[in-house]
Amino acid sequence: MEPKTTLVPQVKIRSYKGRLEEDFKSPGGPPQWITALEAVLKHPAQLVYDISKGRKGWGAYLLATLILGGLFYGFVMGTFSGGTQLWASPVKFAFGLLTSAIITFPSLYIFTCVNGADLKIQTVFSLLLLSLSLVVVLLVGFAPVAWIFSQTTDNIVLMGWIHLILWVASVWFGLRLLSAAFGLLARDFSQGLSAWAFIFLLVCFQMSAVLRPILGTSKEFLTDEKVFFLSHWFKCMGN
Protein backbone atom coordinates (compact mmCIF):
# COMPACT_ATOMS: atom_id res chain seq x y z
CA MET A 1 0.00 0.00 0.00
CA GLU A 2 1.51 3.29 -1.03
CA PRO A 3 1.92 5.90 1.73
CA LYS A 4 -0.45 8.82 1.56
CA THR A 5 1.05 12.10 0.46
CA THR A 6 -0.36 15.48 1.20
CA LEU A 7 -0.59 18.03 -1.58
CA VAL A 8 -0.78 20.94 0.85
CA PRO A 9 2.19 21.31 3.23
CA GLN A 10 1.19 21.22 6.86
CA VAL A 11 1.74 24.68 8.29
CA LYS A 12 1.55 25.18 11.99
CA ILE A 13 -0.56 28.28 12.61
CA ARG A 14 0.73 30.10 15.65
CA SER A 15 -1.43 32.43 17.64
CA TYR A 16 -0.34 36.04 18.08
CA LYS A 17 0.45 35.37 21.70
CA GLY A 18 2.36 32.24 20.75
CA ARG A 19 4.45 34.14 18.24
CA LEU A 20 5.31 36.75 20.84
CA GLU A 21 6.27 34.11 23.38
CA GLU A 22 8.68 32.53 20.90
CA ASP A 23 10.20 35.92 20.16
CA PHE A 24 10.54 37.00 23.80
CA LYS A 25 14.28 37.69 23.91
CA SER A 26 16.62 40.63 23.66
CA PRO A 27 17.05 42.09 20.16
CA GLY A 28 20.78 42.42 20.85
CA GLY A 29 22.87 45.45 20.03
CA PRO A 30 22.42 49.02 21.21
CA PRO A 31 19.04 50.69 20.83
CA GLN A 32 18.69 52.40 17.47
CA TRP A 33 15.77 54.08 15.81
CA ILE A 34 15.76 51.83 12.76
CA THR A 35 15.88 48.79 15.01
CA ALA A 36 13.03 50.20 17.07
CA LEU A 37 10.85 50.84 14.00
CA GLU A 38 11.45 47.35 12.67
CA ALA A 39 10.93 45.75 16.03
CA VAL A 40 7.62 47.59 16.60
CA LEU A 41 6.16 45.84 13.57
CA LYS A 42 8.02 42.56 13.34
CA HIS A 43 9.47 41.76 16.77
CA PRO A 44 7.59 43.73 19.42
CA ALA A 45 8.21 40.98 21.98
CA GLN A 46 11.92 41.77 21.84
CA LEU A 47 11.21 45.35 22.82
CA VAL A 48 8.92 44.11 25.57
CA TYR A 49 11.79 41.95 26.84
CA ASP A 50 14.24 44.86 26.95
CA ILE A 51 11.64 47.12 28.55
CA SER A 52 10.98 44.54 31.24
CA LYS A 53 14.72 44.34 31.98
CA GLY A 54 14.85 48.12 32.38
CA ARG A 55 17.11 48.65 29.40
CA LYS A 56 17.23 52.36 28.62
CA GLY A 57 17.15 53.93 25.19
CA TRP A 58 14.08 52.41 23.59
CA GLY A 59 11.71 54.86 25.27
CA ALA A 60 13.19 57.89 23.56
CA TYR A 61 12.98 56.26 20.11
CA LEU A 62 9.41 55.12 20.73
CA LEU A 63 8.45 58.62 21.83
CA ALA A 64 10.12 60.10 18.75
CA THR A 65 8.26 57.59 16.56
CA LEU A 66 5.01 58.59 18.22
CA ILE A 67 5.55 62.31 17.70
CA LEU A 68 6.91 62.18 14.17
CA GLY A 69 4.39 59.58 13.03
CA GLY A 70 1.60 61.63 14.55
CA LEU A 71 2.82 64.76 12.80
CA PHE A 72 2.97 62.93 9.47
CA TYR A 73 -0.52 61.45 9.74
CA GLY A 74 -1.84 64.80 10.90
CA PHE A 75 -0.29 66.36 7.79
CA VAL A 76 -2.14 63.82 5.63
CA MET A 77 -5.36 64.74 7.45
CA GLY A 78 -4.64 68.40 6.77
CA THR A 79 -4.30 67.85 3.01
CA PHE A 80 -8.08 67.54 2.85
CA SER A 81 -8.58 71.25 3.46
CA GLY A 82 -5.07 72.51 2.77
CA GLY A 83 -3.98 75.99 3.72
CA THR A 84 -3.34 76.46 7.45
CA GLN A 85 -4.53 72.94 8.15
CA LEU A 86 -1.30 71.64 6.61
CA TRP A 87 0.52 72.67 9.80
CA ALA A 88 -2.38 72.95 12.25
CA SER A 89 -3.65 69.39 11.79
CA PRO A 90 -0.27 67.71 12.44
CA VAL A 91 0.29 69.78 15.57
CA LYS A 92 -3.21 69.04 16.86
CA PHE A 93 -3.06 65.31 16.07
CA ALA A 94 0.32 64.73 17.72
CA PHE A 95 -0.54 66.91 20.70
CA GLY A 96 -3.94 65.28 21.13
CA LEU A 97 -2.49 61.78 21.01
CA LEU A 98 0.21 62.53 23.56
CA THR A 99 -2.15 64.38 25.88
CA SER A 100 -4.71 61.57 25.70
CA ALA A 101 -1.98 59.09 26.65
CA ILE A 102 -0.86 61.21 29.60
CA ILE A 103 -4.42 61.72 30.87
CA THR A 104 -5.23 58.01 30.73
CA PHE A 105 -1.85 56.66 31.92
CA PRO A 106 -2.61 56.85 35.70
CA SER A 107 -5.72 54.75 35.21
CA LEU A 108 -3.77 52.23 33.10
CA TYR A 109 -1.18 51.79 35.86
CA ILE A 110 -3.80 51.41 38.60
CA PHE A 111 -5.83 49.00 36.45
CA THR A 112 -2.71 46.82 35.96
CA CYS A 113 -2.22 46.77 39.75
CA VAL A 114 -5.85 45.89 40.37
CA ASN A 115 -5.48 43.14 37.80
CA GLY A 116 -2.73 41.66 39.96
CA ALA A 117 0.30 42.57 37.89
CA ASP A 118 3.44 43.68 39.70
CA LEU A 119 5.01 46.01 37.16
CA LYS A 120 6.98 49.17 37.70
CA ILE A 121 5.42 52.41 36.63
CA GLN A 122 8.26 52.97 34.11
CA THR A 123 7.59 49.58 32.56
CA VAL A 124 3.88 50.28 32.12
CA PHE A 125 4.65 53.67 30.60
CA SER A 126 7.14 52.16 28.17
CA LEU A 127 4.63 49.50 27.16
CA LEU A 128 2.07 52.22 26.52
CA LEU A 129 4.61 54.07 24.35
CA LEU A 130 5.29 50.83 22.47
CA SER A 131 1.63 50.18 21.75
CA LEU A 132 1.00 53.79 20.67
CA SER A 133 4.08 53.63 18.45
CA LEU A 134 2.52 50.65 16.71
CA VAL A 135 -0.73 52.61 16.33
CA VAL A 136 1.10 55.50 14.73
CA VAL A 137 3.21 53.26 12.47
CA LEU A 138 0.02 51.60 11.22
CA LEU A 139 -1.57 54.99 10.61
CA VAL A 140 1.46 55.98 8.57
CA GLY A 141 0.92 52.80 6.59
CA PHE A 142 -2.73 53.75 6.06
CA ALA A 143 -1.79 57.31 5.13
CA PRO A 144 -1.76 56.72 1.34
CA VAL A 145 -5.31 55.42 1.57
CA ALA A 146 -6.40 58.43 3.57
CA TRP A 147 -4.56 60.80 1.21
CA ILE A 148 -6.22 59.36 -1.89
CA PHE A 149 -9.64 59.81 -0.35
CA SER A 150 -8.83 63.31 0.83
CA GLN A 151 -7.82 64.31 -2.73
CA THR A 152 -10.80 62.71 -4.45
CA THR A 153 -13.71 63.80 -2.28
CA ASP A 154 -14.87 66.97 -0.61
CA ASN A 155 -17.29 65.22 1.70
CA ILE A 156 -16.00 66.02 5.18
CA VAL A 157 -18.31 63.52 6.88
CA LEU A 158 -16.99 60.71 4.68
CA MET A 159 -13.41 61.74 5.45
CA GLY A 160 -14.27 61.82 9.13
CA TRP A 161 -15.59 58.28 8.99
CA ILE A 162 -12.53 57.09 7.06
CA HIS A 163 -10.12 58.57 9.59
CA LEU A 164 -12.25 57.19 12.43
CA ILE A 165 -12.20 53.66 10.99
CA LEU A 166 -8.45 53.79 10.35
CA TRP A 167 -7.88 55.14 13.85
CA VAL A 168 -10.00 52.48 15.57
CA ALA A 169 -8.39 49.70 13.52
CA SER A 170 -4.89 50.93 14.41
CA VAL A 171 -5.80 51.31 18.08
CA TRP A 172 -7.16 47.76 18.04
CA PHE A 173 -3.76 46.44 16.94
CA GLY A 174 -2.02 48.61 19.49
CA LEU A 175 -4.22 47.36 22.29
CA ARG A 176 -3.73 43.77 21.16
CA LEU A 177 0.02 44.30 21.52
CA LEU A 178 -0.43 45.95 24.92
CA SER A 179 -2.55 43.06 26.13
CA ALA A 180 -0.07 40.49 24.85
CA ALA A 181 2.81 42.41 26.44
CA PHE A 182 1.08 42.35 29.82
CA GLY A 183 0.46 38.65 29.29
CA LEU A 184 4.17 38.09 28.67
CA LEU A 185 5.28 40.04 31.74
CA ALA A 186 2.56 39.45 34.28
CA ARG A 187 -0.81 37.98 33.64
CA ASP A 188 -3.69 38.31 31.24
CA PHE A 189 -5.24 41.71 31.44
CA SER A 190 -8.20 41.40 29.11
CA GLN A 191 -11.09 42.78 31.15
CA GLY A 192 -9.29 45.65 32.80
CA LEU A 193 -7.64 46.57 29.52
CA SER A 194 -11.03 46.62 27.78
CA ALA A 195 -12.23 49.14 30.35
CA TRP A 196 -9.08 51.20 29.90
CA ALA A 197 -9.39 50.99 26.11
CA PHE A 198 -12.90 52.43 26.38
CA ILE A 199 -11.56 55.27 28.52
CA PHE A 200 -8.68 55.91 26.09
CA LEU A 201 -10.95 56.02 23.05
CA LEU A 202 -13.41 58.25 24.90
CA VAL A 203 -10.62 60.70 25.70
CA CYS A 204 -9.29 60.59 22.14
CA PHE A 205 -12.71 61.26 20.64
CA GLN A 206 -13.40 64.10 23.07
CA MET A 207 -9.91 65.46 22.40
CA SER A 208 -10.75 65.56 18.68
CA ALA A 209 -13.76 67.72 19.52
CA VAL A 210 -11.65 69.98 21.75
CA LEU A 211 -8.96 70.50 19.09
CA ARG A 212 -11.37 70.97 16.15
CA PRO A 213 -11.22 71.76 13.38
CA ILE A 214 -8.77 69.09 12.32
CA LEU A 215 -10.29 68.24 8.92
CA GLY A 216 -12.30 71.35 8.18
CA THR A 217 -11.28 74.98 8.02
CA SER A 218 -11.60 77.80 10.49
CA LYS A 219 -10.29 81.32 10.91
CA GLU A 220 -9.14 80.39 14.41
CA PHE A 221 -6.71 77.70 15.49
CA LEU A 222 -9.15 76.41 18.11
CA THR A 223 -12.85 77.09 18.58
CA ASP A 224 -14.17 78.50 21.86
CA GLU A 225 -17.38 76.51 21.87
CA LYS A 226 -17.30 73.39 24.04
CA VAL A 227 -19.15 70.40 22.67
CA PHE A 228 -19.47 66.74 23.46
CA PHE A 229 -17.98 64.71 20.61
CA LEU A 230 -21.19 62.72 19.95
CA SER A 231 -23.23 65.92 19.66
CA HIS A 232 -20.64 67.34 17.28
CA TRP A 233 -20.63 64.19 15.11
CA PHE A 234 -24.43 64.06 14.89
CA LYS A 235 -24.51 67.75 14.07
CA CYS A 236 -21.95 67.34 11.27
CA MET A 237 -23.81 64.34 9.82
CA GLY A 238 -27.08 66.22 10.02
CA ASN A 239 -25.60 69.11 8.08
Partner: protein, 244 residues
Amino acid sequence: MENPKEGPVAMTLNPPFPSYLGRLKSLCQGRPEAAEWLEDEKWLGFCLVWLFGGLFLYGFAIGWWRAPLQAWYGALKTPVLMAVTLSGTALANWMMAQLMGAALSFRKTLLIQLMGYVVLVTILLSLIPLALFMDSTVPSALGTGALVGQAVVTFFQVFAVGGAGVAAYIRLFHLIEHACRSRATARWILLLWMAANLFLGSHLSWYFRPFIGNPSIPVEFFSNVAFVKGSFLGDLTEKAGRLY
Protein backbone atom coordinates in the same frame (compact mmCIF):
# COMPACT_ATOMS: atom_id res chain seq x y z
CA MET B 1 27.04 49.17 64.66
CA GLU B 2 25.41 46.46 66.73
CA ASN B 3 23.96 47.03 70.10
CA PRO B 4 24.63 43.76 72.00
CA LYS B 5 21.49 44.15 74.08
CA GLU B 6 19.02 45.39 71.49
CA GLY B 7 20.40 43.88 68.32
CA PRO B 8 21.53 45.62 65.16
CA VAL B 9 20.83 49.32 64.97
CA ALA B 10 19.49 50.33 61.60
CA MET B 11 21.96 52.47 59.71
CA THR B 12 19.17 53.94 57.58
CA LEU B 13 15.68 54.90 58.66
CA ASN B 14 12.75 53.21 56.89
CA PRO B 15 9.94 55.73 56.80
CA PRO B 16 6.55 54.03 57.01
CA PHE B 17 4.93 55.96 54.18
CA PRO B 18 6.67 54.20 51.24
CA SER B 19 6.01 50.81 52.81
CA TYR B 20 2.32 51.69 53.21
CA LEU B 21 2.22 52.65 49.52
CA GLY B 22 3.73 49.26 48.82
CA ARG B 23 1.02 47.67 50.96
CA LEU B 24 -1.54 49.69 49.05
CA LYS B 25 -0.17 48.30 45.80
CA SER B 26 -0.28 44.78 47.22
CA LEU B 27 -3.88 45.33 48.36
CA CYS B 28 -4.84 46.47 44.85
CA GLN B 29 -3.05 43.45 43.41
CA GLY B 30 -5.04 41.14 45.64
CA ARG B 31 -2.07 39.66 47.43
CA PRO B 32 -3.06 37.24 50.22
CA GLU B 33 -0.80 38.94 52.78
CA ALA B 34 -3.27 41.86 52.82
CA ALA B 35 -5.44 39.76 55.12
CA GLU B 36 -2.70 39.81 57.78
CA TRP B 37 -2.63 43.60 57.88
CA LEU B 38 -6.22 43.94 59.05
CA GLU B 39 -5.00 43.89 62.67
CA ASP B 40 -2.34 46.59 62.12
CA GLU B 41 -3.72 49.78 63.68
CA LYS B 42 -1.21 52.06 61.91
CA TRP B 43 -2.10 50.53 58.55
CA LEU B 44 -5.79 51.09 59.27
CA GLY B 45 -5.02 54.69 60.15
CA PHE B 46 -3.21 55.13 56.84
CA CYS B 47 -6.17 53.58 55.03
CA LEU B 48 -8.59 56.01 56.65
CA VAL B 49 -6.40 58.99 55.70
CA TRP B 50 -6.08 57.64 52.14
CA LEU B 51 -9.81 57.03 51.96
CA PHE B 52 -10.97 60.43 53.17
CA GLY B 53 -8.21 62.34 51.41
CA GLY B 54 -8.84 60.56 48.15
CA LEU B 55 -12.59 61.05 48.34
CA PHE B 56 -12.06 64.72 49.15
CA LEU B 57 -10.00 65.13 45.97
CA TYR B 58 -12.39 63.11 43.83
CA GLY B 59 -15.41 64.97 45.17
CA PHE B 60 -13.65 68.19 44.22
CA ALA B 61 -13.12 66.90 40.68
CA ILE B 62 -16.79 65.90 40.42
CA GLY B 63 -18.08 69.35 41.28
CA TRP B 64 -15.52 71.33 39.27
CA TRP B 65 -17.71 71.24 36.15
CA ARG B 66 -20.46 73.31 37.76
CA ALA B 67 -18.33 75.82 39.67
CA PRO B 68 -15.36 75.97 42.06
CA LEU B 69 -17.77 76.38 44.97
CA GLN B 70 -19.62 73.23 43.91
CA ALA B 71 -16.24 71.49 43.82
CA TRP B 72 -15.62 72.40 47.48
CA TYR B 73 -19.12 71.23 48.40
CA GLY B 74 -18.53 67.95 46.60
CA ALA B 75 -15.17 67.55 48.32
CA LEU B 76 -16.84 67.84 51.73
CA LYS B 77 -19.85 65.63 50.96
CA THR B 78 -18.20 62.72 49.13
CA PRO B 79 -16.28 61.35 52.16
CA VAL B 80 -19.45 61.70 54.23
CA LEU B 81 -21.43 59.83 51.57
CA MET B 82 -18.96 56.93 51.59
CA ALA B 83 -18.87 56.84 55.40
CA VAL B 84 -22.66 56.70 55.62
CA THR B 85 -22.82 54.02 52.91
CA LEU B 86 -20.20 51.92 54.68
CA SER B 87 -21.81 52.24 58.08
CA GLY B 88 -25.32 51.84 56.63
CA THR B 89 -24.52 48.52 55.02
CA ALA B 90 -22.21 47.20 57.75
CA LEU B 91 -24.87 45.53 59.86
CA ALA B 92 -26.78 44.10 56.89
CA ASN B 93 -23.58 42.82 55.28
CA TRP B 94 -22.46 41.18 58.53
CA MET B 95 -25.84 39.48 58.92
CA MET B 96 -25.80 38.27 55.29
CA ALA B 97 -22.32 36.85 55.84
CA GLN B 98 -23.60 34.99 58.92
CA LEU B 99 -26.52 33.62 56.91
CA MET B 100 -24.09 32.41 54.24
CA GLY B 101 -22.20 30.47 56.90
CA ALA B 102 -19.15 32.72 57.18
CA ALA B 103 -17.74 33.04 60.69
CA LEU B 104 -16.92 36.72 60.33
CA SER B 105 -17.01 39.10 63.26
CA PHE B 106 -18.70 42.45 62.79
CA ARG B 107 -15.31 44.18 63.10
CA LYS B 108 -13.76 41.97 60.43
CA THR B 109 -16.72 42.54 58.09
CA LEU B 110 -16.29 46.27 58.48
CA LEU B 111 -12.52 46.12 57.96
CA ILE B 112 -12.78 43.99 54.83
CA GLN B 113 -15.27 46.44 53.34
CA LEU B 114 -13.00 49.30 54.35
CA MET B 115 -10.22 47.67 52.33
CA GLY B 116 -12.62 47.51 49.39
CA TYR B 117 -13.25 51.22 49.69
CA VAL B 118 -9.49 51.84 49.79
CA VAL B 119 -9.09 50.04 46.46
CA LEU B 120 -12.11 51.96 45.12
CA VAL B 121 -10.57 55.29 46.08
CA THR B 122 -7.23 54.32 44.53
CA ILE B 123 -8.99 53.62 41.23
CA LEU B 124 -10.95 56.88 41.47
CA LEU B 125 -7.76 58.85 42.15
CA SER B 126 -6.32 57.51 38.89
CA LEU B 127 -9.44 58.78 37.11
CA ILE B 128 -9.13 62.35 38.41
CA PRO B 129 -7.16 63.57 35.33
CA LEU B 130 -9.90 62.12 33.16
CA ALA B 131 -12.64 63.70 35.29
CA LEU B 132 -11.00 67.12 35.12
CA PHE B 133 -10.52 66.71 31.36
CA MET B 134 -14.23 65.97 30.91
CA ASP B 135 -15.17 68.87 33.21
CA SER B 136 -13.06 71.23 31.14
CA THR B 137 -14.04 70.12 27.65
CA VAL B 138 -17.75 69.24 27.65
CA PRO B 139 -20.28 72.09 27.37
CA SER B 140 -19.85 74.25 30.44
CA ALA B 141 -22.53 74.98 33.01
CA LEU B 142 -22.61 78.63 31.99
CA GLY B 143 -22.86 78.22 28.21
CA THR B 144 -25.19 76.73 25.65
CA GLY B 145 -25.58 72.98 25.85
CA ALA B 146 -25.17 73.05 29.64
CA LEU B 147 -27.76 70.32 30.11
CA VAL B 148 -25.86 68.09 27.65
CA GLY B 149 -22.66 68.80 29.59
CA GLN B 150 -24.37 67.88 32.85
CA ALA B 151 -25.63 64.63 31.31
CA VAL B 152 -22.18 63.71 30.03
CA VAL B 153 -20.49 64.42 33.36
CA THR B 154 -23.22 62.53 35.24
CA PHE B 155 -22.90 59.42 33.10
CA PHE B 156 -19.15 59.54 33.32
CA GLN B 157 -19.29 59.68 37.12
CA VAL B 158 -21.89 56.91 37.32
CA PHE B 159 -19.77 54.57 35.21
CA ALA B 160 -16.52 55.60 36.90
CA VAL B 161 -17.74 55.15 40.46
CA GLY B 162 -19.85 52.09 39.64
CA GLY B 163 -17.08 50.42 37.67
CA ALA B 164 -14.48 51.23 40.30
CA GLY B 165 -16.78 49.85 42.99
CA VAL B 166 -17.30 46.57 41.14
CA ALA B 167 -13.57 46.21 40.44
CA ALA B 168 -12.71 46.99 44.06
CA TYR B 169 -15.14 44.42 45.41
CA ILE B 170 -13.90 41.77 42.99
CA ARG B 171 -10.40 42.54 44.28
CA LEU B 172 -11.71 41.90 47.77
CA PHE B 173 -12.59 38.35 46.88
CA HIS B 174 -9.34 36.88 48.19
CA LEU B 175 -9.79 38.66 51.54
CA ILE B 176 -13.32 37.33 51.89
CA GLU B 177 -12.24 33.85 50.80
CA HIS B 178 -9.37 33.91 53.33
CA ALA B 179 -11.81 34.84 56.07
CA CYS B 180 -14.54 32.37 55.04
CA ARG B 181 -12.32 29.45 54.07
CA SER B 182 -14.80 28.66 51.29
CA ARG B 183 -14.71 29.88 47.71
CA ALA B 184 -18.44 29.35 47.06
CA THR B 185 -19.43 31.21 50.23
CA ALA B 186 -17.03 34.02 49.43
CA ARG B 187 -18.56 34.37 45.96
CA TRP B 188 -22.08 34.77 47.38
CA ILE B 189 -20.93 37.20 50.04
CA LEU B 190 -19.12 39.27 47.41
CA LEU B 191 -22.27 39.53 45.28
CA LEU B 192 -24.51 40.40 48.22
CA TRP B 193 -22.15 43.03 49.61
CA MET B 194 -21.67 44.56 46.18
CA ALA B 195 -25.42 44.76 45.59
CA ALA B 196 -26.04 46.32 49.00
CA ASN B 197 -23.37 48.96 48.58
CA LEU B 198 -24.37 49.82 45.01
CA PHE B 199 -28.03 50.06 45.98
CA LEU B 200 -27.58 52.19 49.09
CA GLY B 201 -24.68 54.20 47.71
CA SER B 202 -26.54 55.23 44.57
CA HIS B 203 -29.62 56.21 46.52
CA LEU B 204 -27.67 58.16 49.12
CA SER B 205 -25.86 60.01 46.34
CA TRP B 206 -29.30 61.10 45.15
CA TYR B 207 -30.35 62.09 48.67
CA PHE B 208 -27.22 64.14 49.35
CA ARG B 209 -27.24 65.84 45.94
CA PRO B 210 -25.99 67.88 44.29
CA PHE B 211 -22.47 66.60 43.71
CA ILE B 212 -22.18 67.64 40.08
CA GLY B 213 -24.61 70.52 40.23
CA ASN B 214 -27.51 71.78 38.18
CA PRO B 215 -26.72 74.57 35.69
CA SER B 216 -30.30 75.87 35.96
CA ILE B 217 -30.09 76.75 39.65
CA PRO B 218 -27.50 78.45 41.84
CA VAL B 219 -24.80 76.40 43.50
CA GLU B 220 -26.03 74.90 46.76
CA PHE B 221 -24.71 72.52 49.39
CA PHE B 222 -27.89 70.46 49.49
CA SER B 223 -30.62 70.65 46.89
CA ASN B 224 -33.75 72.36 48.17
CA VAL B 225 -35.68 69.35 46.92
CA ALA B 226 -33.24 66.81 48.33
CA PHE B 227 -34.61 64.33 50.86
CA VAL B 228 -38.04 64.92 49.32
CA LYS B 229 -38.66 63.51 45.89
CA GLY B 230 -37.20 61.70 42.90
CA SER B 231 -34.88 58.74 42.54
CA PHE B 232 -31.41 57.99 41.26
CA LEU B 233 -32.64 55.83 38.37
CA GLY B 234 -35.32 58.29 37.38
CA ASP B 235 -32.80 61.12 37.17
CA LEU B 236 -30.39 58.97 35.16
CA THR B 237 -33.11 58.06 32.65
CA GLU B 238 -34.00 61.72 32.17
CA LYS B 239 -30.36 62.66 31.55
CA ALA B 240 -29.93 59.80 29.07
CA GLY B 241 -32.55 61.40 26.88
CA ARG B 242 -30.49 64.61 26.64
CA LEU B 243 -27.55 62.91 24.97
CA TYR B 244 -29.47 62.40 21.74
